[in-house]
């Protein structure tokens, strides 16, 4: 037989038992040609353009799913950061745009549409300021729109004014969506070194250097890696790294195949495959479980950062070999609410925000889906964002903060969103004040590393 018996069974086992799926197939669409002085005309242009390219996005993806027997968990859309084409608008008009995005997403049949974004690492235009001010209202008045703001980069440093502003925006978003456990914050990401071709919502947007329209793919296979690590047993680190690499190689290849086929079916170019390990709340589909299978008693034990670093590196190396179109974030994700193992570690008080922060220095993407008490001061949230941005800027990597100051909740409570967003225990935050530091304002200059020319 052309294929070995074991090879075929391995593929079946991955897709049927170990939750291997394509986490997201995201269509990036440029909106740069949709501006008009009249907001109604703009809305129509946006609507028409998205429908034109994406009306069959879900149907086509489903056909590919059944053809190859690999499920595609999410079909999504990312857009040009809204602040760029529509810079002359005011907050109220931006909210109108958010509503039309929500409507079009519903009609196409997708759960999230991302790109309600601004890139302000060095400074803000008037339009960007207006967009950022509108975020809490846009997120509370829509269901499917996701927002992100880039506040820092290795080349520009950290825009602390934007960091302070974002801490206020996050708090207000939490308050405006308090009826649903502050769910607005789960759709809002603050980035350092945001990438332009990231397919993973909520932080996805269609960067300015991207083509008119593109298909990007994010793969997900923590369950597959977990089983491979378990099966490997007590082997040394080089061997373990080999085992992880071999597994990830295969799932990346499958991811690229699916991406190319979906792109072909939609008649749009294929962009990148993002080789991130993204967990889901399903049992066994967990990064925390991989770290435990590597030999840690629980996530948070000394050695956790080293284990994660090794895992992340092996994932990257295998992905690079498997595809020439690797891009996006490409690393392991450690969202708390979306990973049962992480939730348990937080509940058992084995995992603190500080340890999570250390872990984010060796993996993508950052402090993700972390619930903190609703009365956490703005300056403390700004401090958390600044710390995370500093890790990104100095190490020339992407970092992000998606933090939920759960309105009216305190440490030990839960926020529960169900579905892929999962549920998160509210974690304790240090009460030491960052106020005087944060309120200096201005911009933390770009590091030496930025001077590479």
């Amino acid at each position: 037989m052309q294929y070995e018996f074991e090879e075929i069974l391995e593929t079946i086992r991955m897709t049927e038992i170990e939750h291997f799926d394509i986490r997201t197939v995201t269509m990036g669409i440029s909106l740069r040609d949709c501006y008009d002085r009249n907001i109604e005309v703009t809305k129509q242009k946006i609507y028409d353009k998205i429908i034109r390219f994406a009306k069959n996005h879900v149907k086509n993806a489903k056909e590919i799913e059944s053809q190859f027997g690999i499920s595609i968990a999410n079909k999504r859309i990312s857009l040009t950061p809204i602040s760029i084409p529509f810079d002359s608008y005011h907050s109220e008009e931006f909210i109108e745009i958010a509503k039309i995005l929500d409507k079009v997403a519903e009609e196409i049949g997708i759960d999230y549409i991302a790109g309600y974004s601004a890139l302000v690492q060095k400074g803000m235009t008037n339009g960007e300021k207006e967009l950022i001010k509108s975020i809490p209202y846009a997120l509370s008045q829509t269901k499917r729109v996701c927002s992100s703001v880039n506040v820092a980069s290795t080349k520009a440093g950290i825009n602390m004014d934007a960091v302070i502003m974002m801490s206020e925006i996050i708090k207000l978003t939490a308050e405006l969506t308090k009826d649903k456990d502050s769910i607005g914050c789960a759709k809002l990401v603050v980035f350092a070194n945001a990438v332009e071709d990231n397919p993973f919502v909520a932080g996805a947007f269609h960067g300015v250097s991207e083509p008119e329209v593109v298909i990007n793919v994010g793969i997900s296979g923590p369950g597959v890696v977990l089983d491979a690590v378990r099966e490997a047993g007590r082997v040394d680190f080089q061997t373990l790294s080999e085992v992880i690499k071999k597994t990830v190689f295969k799932i990346t290849r499958a991811g690229e195949l699916i991406g190319r086929k979906v792109a072909e079916k939609n008649g749009v170019p294929f962009g990148i495959v993002d080789i991130s390990l993204a967990p889901t709340p399903a049992e066994g589909d967990s990064i925390a479980d991989i770290l435990k299978a590597m030999g840690l008693e629980d996530v948070g034990a000394p050695g956790t950062t080293a284990a994660l670093a090794m895992l992340n590196d092996a994932v990257k190396k295998a992905g690079l070999m498997a595809s020439s179109s690797v891009g996006g974030l490409s690393g392991a994700f450690i969202p708390v609410s979306e990973d049962m193992g992480m939730i348990r570690a937080v509940q058992a008080k084995n995992l603190s925000i500080e340890k999570l922060e250390a872990m984010t220095s060796v993996c993508s993407v950052g402090l993700d889906m972390i619930a903190i008490p609703g009365d956490t001061p703005n300056e403390t949230i700004a401090g958390i964002i600044a710390d995370e941005a500093a890790i990104g800027v100095i190490n020339d990597k992407t970092t992000a903060v998606r933090i939920i100051p759960a309105f009216g909740k305190k440490e030990g409570d839960f926020v529960d969103y169900g579905g892929l967003l999962g549920k998160a225990p509210v974690m304790g935050v240090r009460t030491l004040s960052s106020e005087k530091f944060i309120n200096r304002g201005g911009r933390i200059p770009a590091p030496v590393r930025s001077l590479t020319n």
């Binding site: 037989m1 075929i8 056909e63 053809q67 690999i70 290849r253 690229e256």
Partner: protein, 142 residues
């Protein structure tokens, strides 16, 4: 599909000859456009044909009992599928069977054959998966 200026000129000349002297410029323009479009479609079909073979891998497993191979092959034969390779293993009470089938001769598409096989799987209380060959080629062959 990209055409060179030379090729477009050739197509236009042909069209002018076909339509004769009485044709208006807009008629000629329309006819040329149609021709180029149909060429583009043809080109696309050719391309897809190259990438995708008509082969599908069928994997089935479950509790062993008489008649499984017969039922599966019968359903495939009814759909006009060509079985190119077959391999089977029994482990204790369980059987696993893998087939490589060519469905390009079938009048049904993969989706319809999957539905047919789902019925068989249901009757026999076994699992049957049909997946396009490419996924295995991509994962296990460099």
């Amino acid at each position: 599909m990209k055409l060179t200026e030379e090729e477009i000129r050739k197509i236009t000349f042909e069209t002018v000859n076909e339509l004769g002297r009485d044709a208006t410029p807009s008629e000629i323009k329309e006819a040329v456009r149609k021709k180029i479009e149909s060429m583009a479609n043809y080109d696309l079909k050719l391309k897809q044909g190259e990438v995708t073979s008509g082969r599908v891998i069928l994997t089935s497993f479950g509790l062993n009992k008489p008649g499984i191979v017969a039922a599966v092959t019968k359903a495939l034969a009814e759909s006009n599928c060509d079985i190119q390779d077959l391999s089977q293993r029994i482990m204790g009470d369980f059987f696993t069977m893998i087939m490589i089938i060519d469905i390009s001769t079938s009048n049904k598409d993969l989706k319809e054959i999957q539905n047919e096989m789902a019925k068989v799987a249901d009757e026999l209380k076994i699992k049957i998966y049909l997946q396009h060959e490419d996924v295995f080629r991509y994962m296990h062959r460099i």
